[in-house]
């Protein structure tokens, strides 16, 4: 071997040694970093595709925001991952995806389900596997009502107030400022829509001049509109979801109806703004057990937008609250579902709105209010608590 060949060989050995050293370091560093940061998983369940997807995407963004802040704060110590569970807001879909989520033992808790029907369909699987739920938006009374079998107990909890509060509040908001209101109520035959009307009727001073119950795929509203006209209604309340509300409101306005249009939290979604023109939707009154982040603090909204690249949507605050409860339990050292359920039930803390937050024995929060909204110039504006 001449000098030149020897030098070449030495160079090769040096390069190989450097590569080996680098690889060795990487291998050595990787377990150290894994050992330092413990990873936990929570889920989000709601409609991420389908007609109601906007609601789910907005809520998921709330969850992501809370987790992002948490992970940044606990860098190197605790990291939280989110598993997305898309139930399309439907009970049928929920029954298909819930078993998978229930059997994923890494998931310590789920923010959601977003919708009541999907919640009821998912509950058997989650109850069987002791998986704690905190819904930012499922408002059906029966889920936590002892008189109706307490179907959500013990795993279900929720941040917003129920339809028992929303029904009368929706009537109150819809008729606010209307002299001699003649109210016509339309439900979409869903358990949510029918239930909301039932609780509305229980409110003090509620008088309903006429009503109709339409299948949730209705596109032609001419018969219902004729009934509204015949009843000489000046307030129309729709208890269904935003995609259908858009077609109803549009056809009502096209028919010459000039009275108040109102809807519950199923209609409260920015998604409605892309389905009907702003002139049709101008003045639509909506209720929801949610508070926009910008109303809590503009700084909070700006930070949300900076971190996620989009403005916050419906139920962002409630999703952040629900996520924060799970995160606080993880900080306290909870490692399994049983521990998480115990921790959630015992939780006493603050909502990002500043008010106290805890659950009663059935999973409801105490002292919540129903808020009012109005569509103005193509945007949904918060108008304050309905009183």
């Amino acid at each position: 071997m001449n000098e030149r060949q020897q030098m070449k060989k030495q160079r090769l050995i040096s390069v190989a040694a450097v590569i080996a050293l680098a690889a060795g370091s990487a291998v050595a560093v990787a377990p150290a970093s894994n050992a330092a940061a413990k990873t936990f998983t929570i889920g989000y369940q709601g409609p991420l595709t389908g007609e109601e997807a906007q609601v789910g995407i907005d809520e998921l963004n709330g969850v992501k925001y809370a987790v992002k802040l948490f992970n940044a704060k606990n860098k190197g110590k605790i990291q939280v991952k989110i598993v997305e569970i898309d139930d399309q807001g439907s009970g049928t879909e929920a029954a298909k995806v819930a078993p998978g989520a229930a059997s994923n033992k890494n998931i310590l808790g789920i923010v959601g389900p977003a919708y009541s029907g999907a919640t009821i369909a998912s509950l058997p699987f989650y109850k069987q596997t002791n998986l704690p739920l905190i819904s930012p938006s499922a408002t059906r009374v029966s889920i936590t009502d002892p008189a109706q079998g307490l179907i959500g107990f013990p795993v279900f909890h929720r941040i917003p107030v129920t339809d028992r509060v929303q029904g009368p509040a929706l009537y109150k908001l819809a008729t606010k400022g209307v002299t001699s209101p003649v109210v016509f109520v339309i439900d979409d035959q869903s358990p949510y829509g029918v239930g909301l009307v039932q609780y509305m009727k229980l409110g003090a001073g509620v008088t309903i001049a006429g009503s109709d119950s339409v299948p949730d795929k209705t596109t032609d509203w001419s018969a219902t509109i004729s009934k509204v006209t015949a009843a000489k209604a000046n307030v129309v309340i729709f208890t269904g979801y935003y995609a259908q509300a858009a077609t109803l409101f549009r056809q009502l306005r096209d028919s010459g109806y000039k009275g108040v249009l109102a809807g519950g939290d199923g209609v409260l979604s920015p998604g409605i703004l892309s389905l009907a023109s702003s002139s049709i939707l101008e003045g639509v009154r909506l209720t929801g057990g949610t508070v926009p982040l910008a109303e809590i603090s503009q700084k909070l909204e700006d930070d949300f937008k900076a971190k996620l690249g989009v403005s916050s949507g419906t139920y962002a605050a409630e999703s952040i609250d629900a996520t924060n409860i799970f995160l606080s339990c993880i900080t306290k050292g909870v490692k399994d579902r049983a521990g998480m359920l115990k921790c959630v039930k015992a939780f006493k803390g603050k909502s990002i709105t500043g008010s106290s937050l805890s659950f009663d024995q059935y999973g409801d929060t105490a002292g919540g209010v129903m808020n009012g909204f109005e569509i103005k110039s193509g945007a949904i504006k918060y108008t304050g608590a309905v009183k």
Partner: protein, 316 residues
């Protein structure tokens, strides 16, 4: 209630008629194909749905309308509406021909049993709907308002809104054109010949494949027109919009007598009116119940529909 019904009768009738004409055009798609091939093209509901999307694409993407846009007026409006109608008809017509080529022709040429094309039709219906579901993320797609829905006046107390009037007048014109086409043109005569006696028509030199493709094209064009009218009236669509409309139009075709153009016409109109009146009188929740009770009663006395399957006499 009766007084209210009488007060609203004219308005309900106009609404029911415009819905009925949409049913008529979709029902023609079913009936034309059945008349020639004696098979139900269940994918026709998806042909309709793709037509609605074609209209919205023209409005939204070609002309750049948004929910905030001002509606068009004058000649521009006419031009946009015409293009939408053409786009919708072309989309559905071409899709219909492709369906025949891909899903039915080979089965027909190889002498499959009667059930194979039926399953193939249902399969294609699902494929087309699911494909659109994936494309649109299962969401409703809203159409920006392209035309101000002005009132043209009143007729016996009913407000004649521009969109309803366009649907009724244009729907009637399309139906008359189709009837004349089947009655007078060479292809129309060939379609009638095949529907009367396929073997005899072939012996007389009729190109069966050409006639079948022509039938699918004509049926698709009518169904596409329905897609345009649907968007004009309801200003939205979704991947599953064809299902309910398709069932309704199929019911209309059966009610009138499937395979019979006149039957599809009267079946569609009667169904549109019946649905609207029943919804008003009994509540919308009773609409489907009423319609199907009437259908069962009609079929009990007239098993082939009101106008029967007398294709040879009445198809044209």
């Amino acid at each position: 209630m009766l007084n209210n019904f009488l007060d609203q009768f004219a308005t309900l009738t106009v609404g029911g008629l415009s819905l009925g004409f949409i049913y008529v055009l979709i029902a023609l798609g079913y009936t034309m194909v059945y008349g020639v091939l004696r098979m139900i093209n269940f994918a026709n509901s998806e042909v309709f749905m793709y037509g609605t999307f074609a209209t919205i694409i023209v409005i939204r993407d070609l002309f750049g309308f948004t929910q905030q846009s001002e509606p068009a007026t004058g000649f521009r409006l006419f031009y946009i509406l015409f293009l939408c109608l053409v786009a919708s008809m072309l989309m559905s017509g071409i899709l219909s021909i492709l369906l025949e080529l891909v899903a039915y022709r080979r089965l027909r040429n190889r002498g499959s049993n009667k059930l194979a094309p039926l399953i193939s039709a249902i399969g294609m219906s699902i494929v087309l709907a699911e494909f659109m579901r994936i494309l649109t993320d299962s969401r409703y797609v809203g159409s920006p308002r392209v035309m101000e829905k002005k009132s043209l006046g009143t007729f016996f107390g009913a407000e004649l809104r521009l969109d309803n009037t366009i649907i009724i007048v244009a729907g009637l014109l399309l139906f008359i054109s189709l009837s004349q086409f089947v009655q007078r043109t060479r292809l129309g005569k060939a379609i009638r010949a095949v529907s009367m006696n396929e073997d005899a028509a072939k012996l007389m030199g009729v190109n069966l494949n050409f006639v079948v493709s022509g039938t699918f094209l004509v049926g698709g064009l009518m169904t596409g027109a329905a897609g345009f009218f649907y968007v004009l009236k309801y200003e939205n669509t979704s991947f599953n919009i064809g299902f309910e409309l398709g069932i309704a139009a199929f019911t209309a075709a059966i009610l009138g007598g499937i395979g019979n153009i006149k039957g599809a016409f009267y079946g569609g109109i009667v169904l549109g009116l019946l649905e609207t009146y029943a919804s008003f009188f009994l509540g919308t929740q009773w609409k489907a119940v009423t319609v199907f009770i009437v259908l069962v009663v009609v079929l009990y006395f007239r098993p082939n529909g009101v106008f029967g399957e007398a294709i040879t006499q009445t198809r044209a």
